[in-house]
Amino acid sequence: MSNHAPVLPSPRRPLRVRALVRAASPAMLWLLLCAALGVSACGTDYKSTADTASVIRPEPVRAVFHPSTGPIAVDLVNTSDKPVAIGEFRIEGPDWTSFALVEPVNATVLRPGDRLKLHVKVEAAELLGPGEPIRGAVVEHGDAPEEIAADEYRHGTAHLSFKAAGVVTAVPLEFEDPSWVSQYVLPALIKVLLLVMAFIMPLASLLTWMERKQSAMMQDRIGPNMARVSIGGVTLRLWGLLHIATDGLKMLFKEDFIPRRAHRALYTLAPLFAFVPAMVVFAIVPFGDAVCYGQLFDSLSEADVAQCAAGRGGTPLQIAQIDVGLLYYFAIASLATYGTTLAGWASYNKWAVLGALRASAQMISYEVAIGLTIVGALLCYGTLEPHALVKAQEASHWGLVLQPIAFILFFTAAIAETKRAPFDLPEGESEIIGYFIEYSGMRFGLFFLGEFIEVVFVSALVSTLFLGGWNLPFGILGAHGFSSALTCQLFFLGAGLVLTASGAAIWRASKHAEGVASVIIVLGTIHLVVAVWSAFTGWGTALPHIAIVTIGLLTWGLKVLALCWLQLLIRWTLPRFRYDQLMSLGWKGLLPLSIANIVLTALVVYALAPSAPPAAAPPTGAPPTAVPAAGGTAEAPTPAAAPKSPNPSPAAAGQP
């Protein structure tokens, strides 16, 4: 075969700058154009076209009460650049008797940027039935209006109005008592469908392809590329993406083999035990902040979204908001051990039992490390609830910054928990197969898919705990929009440049990818145009709610995808540990380090806690800025406006 070179059309061509320029010239033209526009924009003295009519911005723009809601704080912020007189606060509307201001407010003058804090409460008892028919209910076909039962609440509405700069503005106040179904069941079902059907399952199946394609690319091979579909003479190969479907079909049609002396019931159940926990833990993962019903196209403030995240007038983008969220994760993730153990035991195969033993020993050992590494983050942010954890990161710094050691330890232990290389001793794909050695067909497929779902979950958890969940870095995107027009331009410029450049690179790389590449280039160009548009108009500080939600979802998805990629990279780079090395890494490496991390974090948190006297500089190596979480943030002059930043109390942190 050494002689084939002269015959071959050479597959490699040297990279030449000129070829690169030619291939990327459309993109470069766009870049030049945009740069020219940007330069000309710099010379233009643009004026913010922000809405001048609403001088005073209420936060939230709408207050929603439930029967158990306490007083709601309504901030009135002066967004203009001159002082505004504000007064004549009153509560009006159909149910004005049921709502009240907690403390009387006097007319005052708000300086630019000042916020006036009002507290509104509701007398829920006055809205308790039985009473008149539901007000405002649409009565169709002459139906009698619905009567309200004895201990049900009726819908109540009013508004808080005030006069500022001669204009009367009203903040709607709403009281509702949604049924359990409409408050919890329906949103949860929709979110489950959204998350599972639109994200987890597609991503997990994509990973089965990505694993092989990425490993091939890393090892200078081609990888799966032969599955194809022909529609009317057009053959689609899509870089082997169709292997996902063909593999699924293959597994469905394979013989479903059960060893003769296997325990049939447990043998059947074991794949479910491995698969279901991997799916169920996703319930606690927040994949976005919150959606506010009926306000999708309004520009909302932090207070609005916080209200929706609490389930009032919206729903958090998280399937189950459990206060003990991370404990729930530990509880469920430990159940996955049963899947492996039962699979090994029920197969009636000594190698399977041995594999199961390895798996359970490994998973149990590394769970300890996982649990302890998270404690550091908990000390910093003071909550176990993932959504609150992300909000706390948004308010201070990402976990990656405050807890870099914990990040590495957690990531390592979590990879060990998924039983993938370099910790794949339970399976040992290339030699020993391990606990599912007897499984075939779709039963094996469940183990296989469960493993990839765990990969997705680890990515989701890492991005929740350490990478700020759905947030863009440096807090450039708040609930209302970008923090300033400049960050908006920088964001779109950066995203546009990255997209256009990678689109150009892909265009150059393969003639089959020109379609995809052109889509990416067009997307990048749109980003650049938006950046230029923002430079002209100052646009970007007040985005519609739905745009914020979409950006959040995309950010979260991209983070998860990138972490999945990283996990695959690790899996195909590192050699496998020996079993004693695995155990000593777990017990002698990760465990002491994570305990040290806890002690260090606790000390720093204790030293910087507000009630303690200002202490000396934190010990080196510790996250030095551990406590901006506790202190006020830059966003609010009144620190009480951020109840989301929990202060780690000295009592909790006082273990040392």
Partner: protein
């Protein structure tokens, strides 16, 4: 007798024991390959030959000295060049060449009465071609032995072998030590393969 225990002390630096720097290096190496292969033209360092893929002519990937199914060459008068010297059947490691010699009609040379190659046994080593003193047997057909329905169809006889044959430019009896210098121009049919 005591059993000696040899203690091997591993020279591990702190850097080795932290793992992380080495891991990072490894990840960077693989990531570099990943991006080079996905983002550059012609798939970067991927050397895989797209043999057998649809739309790719497999013959364009055949090496120059590809060994295909055998053929027997002609003399100028159209008779087979083989002189039944048995060199090939002797050298054949698979013992798959079977020759029965006979007298040629026109002169006192030998020729094959039977010339059979069992292509199922043949290991495609090409030794028969090298052994042949008169350029009678060749494997330059650039065709694989195709699968056959019956076993006998894979056993090629003289007619089958000669049906692929052609005239040879080699001079019968050889040219002596300087044959390269004096050889006539190559057969145009095989130029530019």
């Amino acid at each position: 007798m005591t059993i000696g225990v040899k203690k091997v002390s591993l020279q591990r630096t702190t850097r080795d024991q932290i793992f992380l720097p080495a891991i990072l290096e490894g990840l960077l190496t693989t990531a570099r390959h990943f991006f080079k292969n996905t983002m550059t033209k012609g798939m970067g360092d991927v050397d895989t030959i797209r043999y057998g893929e649809p739309g790719v002519d497999p013959k364009s990937y055949y090496p120059e000295r590809f060994r295909g199914v055998h053929r027997l060459m002609f003399r100028d008068d159209g008779s087979v060049r083989c002189v039944a010297c048995m060199c090939c059947s002797t050298v054949c490691p698979a013992r798959c060449i079977y020759i029965v010699a006979e007298d040629r009609e026109d002169n006192n040379e030998k020729g094959p009465a039977t010339f059979v190659i069992d292509e199922l046994k043949c290991v495609v080593c090409g030794l028969c071609v090298e052994a042949c003193p008169c350029d009678a047997i060749r494997m330059d057909t650039r065709t694989h032995m195709t699968p056959t329905e019956a076993r006998e169809d894979a056993v090629l006889r003289k007619v089958d072998l000669m049906s692929r044959g052609g005239p040879s430019v080699a001079v019968q009896g050889g040219l002596g030590a300087d044959y390269r210098a004096d050889a006539p121009a190559a057969d145009p049919r095989f130029v530019g393969r």
